[in-house]
Subunit: 237 residues, 4 copies
DNA sequence: TATGAATGAGCATTCATTCAT
DNA sequence: AATGAATGAATGCTCATTCAT
């Protein structure tokens, strides 16, 4: 006669913010391990010991959860960028730093990159989203460095900065593709990529490749469409 | 078996090929219009006036159909590449041609590009597929040009050609992303991209950006790891 | 316990009542605007600036809230019926008044009618509910008028009063259906029905239609199962 | 080593029309037994020994299935109406027939009536639907009879036929409400209503009630707003 | 060769209600 | 009296693929 229905056991009550963080973390890990589509909201809930409804209390849709996971990541990536950039002695060094740090992000969180490419950027709701804005601000850092370098006489004056930005970020993405696709992951963080990314070497190569094209210098008369300028160039070490 | 019907040995094969082409065309158009996921096999069949089963006679899976559509496209893209490249007077001109033709492909078939990025390259079966091979051979053309340019003394000797390749193709992809995402399409071909791609100007800018970094010239002594060579070189390979 | 606060014995009860009224009003408005199912308890709470739990303090279930909303309405509808009926000079006039006032209710509160029909009367808990009882007392008024009219010799003696009641209320409901379904509403009150109800004309037509069937008169001998009576009867009861 | 997956057993292949009929029947029975909401599509499928997908092959949505079930019913109800009506000797007899047959429908299929009222007529997609049209054509039969009766001099000339139609159908609905709500049902057909509907008696009462109001006759001078006309009246038997 | 009927797994989302604080 | 975090059940629908005819 005692009721067969088990007493409802509630998960411990958490403050809103804590719960949100927990959910974001669990979602990030599962999305990274199994991909977005293959992760059921129920799994995320299970991992936290709550029910699906609890997650929907804090996130309106599964997709919103994905976007928030990536927004979190972007916010981390901004970190102390401003300070670190300021600490560099030349614009080229700043460029190198941006490239290196981006490569590091790719190396450490390949699956989050994959989520960005596959699930977010190629959907129509990306345009105009907060994530789009974060992404623009993130890559804008490079544009700023380029423009500062131009102003400082370290880079050529006629550079198409946005195209350059695409060259760098698109180039890194393209080059890391196989790594991104095959990396395996634990708790959202890379565990073993098939042939890890040698980010130091890559950053160096990329920076050189780019700079030797943009650094002001005496160009070969026949192929340079730009007037060589004789500006003093202290920073170009 | 002793039918009076005259033996038309090749006729059935022709019919089969025609059917296959028909299907590929219909599939390409629908995939481009609505995307891969949102296109039902039944729709493709409907467009051809057949039933689903018929399509499965010729293609084992929907995904195989997608891959074949893209393989066809790649094969078209190879076209007269070899001849056209040979017709160029310098390695820089060949590089420019590759860039321009790739941009043209993006401009004319943005939705096929999108299928490549979204549906194919980010799936695990891409690695090792025929399409992967085609893609490699396609981008290898650029590597070949670079290496020929190096051998011919037109480009610097120590260039990391694969990275350069990623720079170019990844850069183009990145730069064209918004265009690719928003292009509208009719019969697989672009109708109106939001802000068309100015491929002439882009090709010029890209080539310059890349070449000024790789073309042999007097570099700034302290930052150039490569010996500048002074010989103007009539650019033929 | 020995607080200096003056004992306000009834104040809390008043507060409670006010709260209840607030909730009923908010619920009525939302139920009318969006329908019962589509109104979430959370929305009602939101509208009042409280949380869901607060509403459950005063109403055990959402459905109870609905029933109470409609009970309130019925109680208003009774209003001064008795007095107003008494003021009429004939039973026919009383019947006309009942019909007219019912039509006015439909015209002014079409969405509440809809809630009655759709959400309440067609559920199994209606039978035996307070609302059912109110509804019966409400329609009983018409039966009473009919019977008084019979007793007073104004109406035929053999009328099936309950069937007549159904004819009137069912007929009104049926005739107003499109209006009820399409009315738009603000704060529970009708704003603009698609093609407003001309209740004066309708009431007249209905009364005539019904009375010419029930009023004592010379009927056609062959079809009338009732003895026609020849006495002109000054219609007062 | 033998696969654990059971061999897929297909339900017997049926011709499209047979399958459709089967589904409609099963759906009708379940909707009548449990109501629309409480019937899961999976249950209907189960009853037929097929899977849900099969049902969706023939009906786009669960709601479409409901509508088709009711359309079927309406079409049956039209039956030999025209012929049967023509067989009546007076307009009053025709009216009686309409009322009686409608009552019979209510008596035999109370749950289908309930579906009409609850699930269909009070939804916004009803207006303009095929079902709406069928319903109008069905009730139009009565309007036609009324108008023929007017033309034939059997009914009064100034009758508001649409209002009369509402009176009859709305009245029947209202009067049968408790029966409709409480009827229990087997295979879509009524088994035992709480207090069965005495349709013969009801039809007689209703016809009389209505006719004594509409049949042309010498009205009581003081209460009749209509000029008594001395038209020859053969049909009024 | 073509048909087209049948399969069947898979999951996001809502919201009335409870109850610890 | 009020809060608000947590529950948890319940299901319509899609579509690639198969296979009997």
């Amino acid at each position: 006669m005692s009721s067969a229905k088990p007493a409802r056991v509630h998960a411990p009550r958490l403050a809103r913010e804590q719960r949100v963080d927990e959910i974001l973390l669990a979602a990030r890990d599962l999305f990274c391990e199994k991909g977005y589509e293959l992760t059921a909201v129920a799994e995320i809930a299970l991992k936290l010991g709550v029910v699906e409804g609890t997650i929907y209390k804090y996130f309106a849709t599964k997709r919103e959860l994905l976007l928030k996971v990536l927004e979190y990541w972007y916010e981390e990536m901004f970190g102390d960028y401003a300070r670190d950039l300021a600490g560099q002695s030349s614009h080229r060094a700043r460029l190198h730093l941006l490239i290196w740090r981006h490569l590091r992000s790719v190396r450490d969180f390949p699956r989050l990159c994959r989520l960005m490419f596959r699930e977010v950027q190629s959907e129509h709701d990306y345009r105009g989203s907060l994530l789009h804005d974060l992404n623009r601000r993130y890559t804008q850092l490079l544009v700023d460095v380029i423009e500062a370098g131009i102003a400082g006489g370290e880079f050529r004056a006629d550079l198409p900065a946005p195209l350059l930005r695409s060259l760098v970020y698109g180039g890194i993405e393209h080059h890391s593709w196989a790594y991104i696709m095959n990396a395996t992951v634990k708790n959202g963080r890379n565990v073993c990529g098939r042939g890890a990314l040698d980010i130091d070497s890559l950053a160096e190569q990329l920076t050189t490749l780019v700079c030797e094209g943009i650094a002001v210098r005496h160009s070969h008369p026949s192929s340079a469409p730009i007037r060589g300028e004789d500006i003093p160039r202290g920073a170009s070490a």
